[in-house]
Amino acid sequence: MDEIFRGFLHALRFIFSADPALVEIVWLSMRVTGVALFISTLIGVPVGAALGLTRRRARGLIAALLYTGMGLPPVVVGLFVYLMLSRSGPLGMLDWLFTPSAMIAAQIIIAFPLVAGLTMTAVQGVDANLPLQVRALGANRAQEIWTILREARIGVIAAIVAAFGGIVSEVGAVMLVGGNIEGKTRVLTTAIVLNTRTGDFDLAIALGIILLGLAFAANAALLQLQKRGGD
């Protein structure tokens, strides 16, 4: 129990001292997760919307695949990315293994099914008459999709929030493909594992509290988007 209290104090001290090693770790965590989430959203929302708007029969198999993707164990994703990017793997010439790029790649694979799958569900929930109405008002296809996405925004934002939660806290894949290299690929989650391994529990708890704080701030911003979207 002591560790939790000391961890809390440690976290406060950390934040106010702006320890350079910590700043680097926090920055890399935000960068990796931010870029991965941005790319997943960029691809996942249109794919999900398109799927949500197609007729049912064609959607079945892809939907099942997407939902299965949501349950992918991150370590398996990590292992797959590892073998792809290894010097003896097919994409070895990229020289991405043990770099932030590899971590971003793994997180995109984890986040994409969540964004696309939940966006699809949200779009399906929109009143079926809405597309007809906007088309009757003379909207083109892009305008139609945009209107539907705006209508489904609560669900779409929830999809992004779910994906964010999935990757910001993820450790198995980034540990494997990043290698937890100090100053290069060490993020909050892998640093927590390291400090747990060496028995520095209060430090691990402190990093955990910082991670929670960051996640809270990011989610608050996203939810703001959800609320304001209707204005």
Binding site: R31, R197, A221
Partner: protein, 285 residues
């Protein structure tokens, strides 16, 4: 609608900022050598102590990937590291025999110790040989925690069981194969009151977090350790560039020469003396 745009633009700006280089960081050095090693060398603080000298001398950053020896060797086998510093002699010899490295060099050694709960339920404290203690632990069915992760320590543990002519299986309720690193295994043993094999360096560096554990075989220092079977030698190998394209052999060779040099060897021998009253690693190049 306006608010929506403001928030979205703000988010985009944050993400765009995140894509650029981190603030205040010097541009990454062009040269980076990738070292795959065991958790013991990194977690004990040895590498943080000796590596800055190499990085300064050769203007080359060393990227340390600290994993179990089994995983480190696998990383080397795939050509994903330039140089290895590991401790599992049989696996190292196989690595060289398979042509993944041209040669292996002795770097340093320390020793393994058998730890157990304070009350020593199997009454093995003071056994001269770990294999004898293992036999008694099995006979009394006292809890034992194994790394179970193909690490150097796990490999040594299994060879001691073989010497004791016992094959631990998952049917043996007292034998716990954890599949965890040294730190986690020590913490688990401390909580569960189990015996476990550990390298002395990691034990010493975590001793204050392990109040329920005592050394039952191996004594207080390596000179005190009567079982020569518990020696724990570390080897260094540069990954063979003929086998793996893209491996930085030239710099890796410089690293090998550097770690074997008299100066570095002396620094290795001095590490930890002030803090633990004894070196954590003994150079033997």
């Amino acid at each position: 609608m306006k608010h929506w745009l403001i928030v979205a633009t703000g988010l985009l700006a944050v993400i765009a900022g995140a894509c650029s280089a981190p603030p205040g960081n010097p541009p990454a050095a062009n040269c980076a050598l990738r070292l795959a090693t065991t958790t013991s060398t990194a977690d004990s603080g040895l590498l943080a102590f000796i590596l800055p000298d190499f990085e300064k001398k050769f203007s080359c950053k060393v990227d340390v990937i600290a994993v179990g020896t089994g995983q480190a060797i696998e990383i080397g086998t795939k050509g994903d590291a330039d140089v290895l510093l590991v401790h599992a002699r049989a696996q190292e010899d196989k690595f060289v025999a398979d042509g993944h490295a041209k040669e292996r060099f002795d770097v340093m050694y320390n020793d393994f110790i058998l730890l157990g709960p304070q009350d020593d339920p199997a009454k093995v404290k003071g056994s001269a040989r770990a294999a004898d203690a293992f036999k008694t632990i099995a006979a009394t069915q006292s809890a034992f925690a194994s790394r179970g992760d193909k690490s150097g320590t796990n490999t040594k543990e299994l060879s001691i069981w073989a010497t004791a002519t016992i094959t631990p299986t998952k049917e043996m309720a007292w034998y716990n194969s954890l599949g965890q690193g040294m730190g986690e295994t020590l913490l688990t043993s401390n909580e569960k009151g189990a015996y476990t094999l550990a390298d002395r360096g990691t034990y010493l560096s975590m001793k204050d977090k392990l109040p329920n554990l005592i050394v039952v075989v191996g004594g207080t220092s390596i000179q005190d350790n009567k079982d020569k079977d518990l020696l724990n030698p570390y080897g260094v190998m540069a990954v063979n560039p003929d086998k793996h394209l893209g491996v930085k052999f030239e710099m890796a060779t410089k690293f090998v020469q550097w770690i074997l040099s008299k100066e570095t060897q002396e620094r290795i021998g001095g590490f930890g003396k002030d803090k633990y009253g004894q070196p954590l690693f003994y150079p033997n190049a």
